[in-house]
Symmetry: C2
Subunit: 246 residues, 2 copies
DNA sequence: ACAGTACGTTGATACGCATCAATAAAGTTG
DNA sequence: CAACTTTATTGATGCGTATCAACGTACTGT
C-alpha cells in the first residue's frame, strides 16, 4: 500500500508540466545518454496523454506501427497471439522502460500492450524519433543499444524457458522485478506484483497452478512472504542463487 | 551432396572480386533497401576475409564488440553460456542473414558465434555502419528493422518453447529452415542440416534423444525422410500444420 | 452488506519428456 | 582399412509439471 503511493508520486506533479528534463526517471529512461540540449529536442517530440486505465491497450498486435512508448508510472504487459489463438506474454514493462519496438520491422505491432494498473505513458512517434536519430548520433547510438538490449533480454528468457525449472524461473522473475524496483530507488525486497498469476505463468511457460504452488513452497522455505499480489523477498540471496544470478 | 555444390557456388567467383553490388544475396541481405550508389558506400566498409573453417569462432561471448557479420555461404550457430556453465543455442544463421547485433547494447558480444560448416563471411565494422546510418536514412531505417525483426524472431522462439510440444518445435524448425532455403532459390524440400542433433535439441529446449525420436516418428509417419544430416520434407503441408504455421 | 464473479490455492492423477543405459553408425586418424 | 572417437538411435524407467477437480478468497457493483 505504501508502495502504491510511492508509485503515484512519479506521475503526480500534475502531469501538465512534466518533461524529460525534470522527469525523475530520466537517468534510466530514454534521456539517459543525452546532453541537456538534446533532451530538449527529445522532449519536443514526446507526447504525454491522460493516464491509461487498467485493462486498456496502448496498441494491439497487427495495428499500424506509429510510436514507441515509455512507461512513466504503473505497469504494462506485452503479449502476442499466435495463429492458433494462444497468447504468450512476452514482457512486463515498468517505469523508465520502453516498449513497442517490435513494431519497427514490419510497420505493424507484433504484440499487444495492455496496462496492468493505471499507468502514465509517454508516447514517442517513431518517424520523429528516426529523424532525431539521424541528427543526433548519441540518440541513434542509444536507440541501437535499446534494441540490442531487448534482444539480449529475450535471449536470456529463451534460456530460462529452455533450461530452468519452475522454481528457477519464478525466482528469476522475482529477482528481475526486484532489481528493476531498486533501480528506481524503491524497495528491492517488498513490492506489489501488478500482474496476475496467469500472466506470470504464461510469461514463464508454466500453468497458474504451478506458479501458485511454487509461491507457496518459497513461502514455506522462508524465502518470501506473499499475500495476494504483495510480496516480500525475505532471503534475496537465496532467491538469486535459485535464479542462477550470481 | 548436390546441395553442397549449390552452396559452394555462392562464394565461388573467386571471392577476390565479390562485392555487395554483384553478390547474389543482395536482395535478401543488407543491401536490400539501398540504392545503387548507397550499396557502393556500404561495400566500402564491408570486409571479406578467408573462409572460416568448421568449428572456428567469429567472435566469443564477452569479447569487445567490433563488427556485425553477414553470412555469405555456409552456416553459423550462435550460443550463449550462462553463469552456471550451461550453453544455450540462440540461433542458426544462413547465407544472407546478419548476426552479432546482440553486442551493441553492452559493447561486448552476448553470445559466441561458431561455424557449423566452412563459411564465407562478410564483416561489417559497427562504428562505420553507425556513421553510414547517420548519413543514409534508408540505411538507418533498415538497420532498425533488422534489430526489430530479431526481437520478433526471438519472441516467436519464446512462444515456441513456452507453448509447443517436441513435435511442434521440431516441425517449426524444419519449416523455418525450408523457408530460408527457398528464399535463396534453393530447394524448400530437400537440404542438409548443418547442425548436430545436440544443437537442434539445445536450440529447441529438448534433449538429443527426443530430437532423434521425433525425427524417427516423422519419418515413420511419412512426413520426412532423413539420413544423417540430409532431410527431405515429403509432406511440407502437414509439417506446417504441425508447426502451427498457416 | 450481499450476491455474483473472477482469481487463487490445494490435492489427486496422468503424461510428455528427461534421464540412464546399451548399441549402432558415422566420422577421424595413423 | 583398422582402431578410435564422436554422434545418433533405440529402449526402459522416473520425475516434473500439466491437467482435472474442488474449494477458498478477494474483488465488483448495487
Amino acid at each position: 500500500m505504501q508502495l502504491m503511493k510511492a508509485e503515484l508520486k512519479q506521475h503526480c506533479p500534475n502531469d501538465a508540466n512534466v518533461n524529460c528534463a525534470n522527469c525523475r526517471l530520466n537517468s534510466i529512461c530514454l534521456p539517459l545518454a543525452l546532453r541537456q540540449d538534446e533532451i530538449t529536442q527529445l522532449d519536443d517530440i514526446v507526447q504525454r496523454g491522460r493516464p491509461v486505465q487498467k485493462g486498456q491497450h496502448l496498441y494491439r498486435q497487427g495495428e499500424n506501427f506509429q510510436s514507441i512508448y515509455a512507461v512513466r508510472s504503473g505497469a504494462i504487459k506485452a503479449y502476442s497471439t499466435t495463429d492458433d489463438g494462444e497468447e504468450q506474454v512476452t514482457g512486463f514493462y515498468f517505469p523508465g522502460e520502453i516498449l513497442g519496438m517490435d513494431g519497427i520491422g514490419q510497420n505493424r505491432y507484433a504484440s499487444s500492450a495492455q496496462a496492468m494498473d493505471v499507468s502514465a505513458i509517454c508516447e514517442i512517434p517513431f518517424h520523429r524519433m528516426e529523424e532525431l536519430s539521424g541528427k543526433l548520433p548519441s540518440m541513434q547510438k542509444h536507440f541501437f543499444k535499446l534494441l540490442s538490449q531487448e534482444i539480449v533480454e529475450d535471449q536470456r528468457h529463451i534460456t530460462l524457458l529452455s533450461k530452468n525449472s519452475a522454481e528457477e524461473r519464478l525466482a528469476a522473475l522475482l529477482v528481475s522485478i526486484s532489481a528493476r524496483h531498486a533501480r528506481r530507488g524503491l524497495s528491492a525486497t517488498s513490492f506489489r506484483l501488478p500482474m496476475s498469476r496467469g500472466d506470470i505463468g504464461n510469461f514463464l511457460g508454466l500453468t497458474i497452478e504451478t506458479v501458485s504452488r511454487v509461491f507457496t513452497r518459497f513461502a514455506k522455505q522462508g524465502l518470501i512472504s506473499i499475500a495476494n499480489k504483495d510480496v516480500t523477498l525475505i532471503d534475496l540471496e537465496k532467491l538469486k542463487e535459485t535464479a542462477n544470478v550470481f
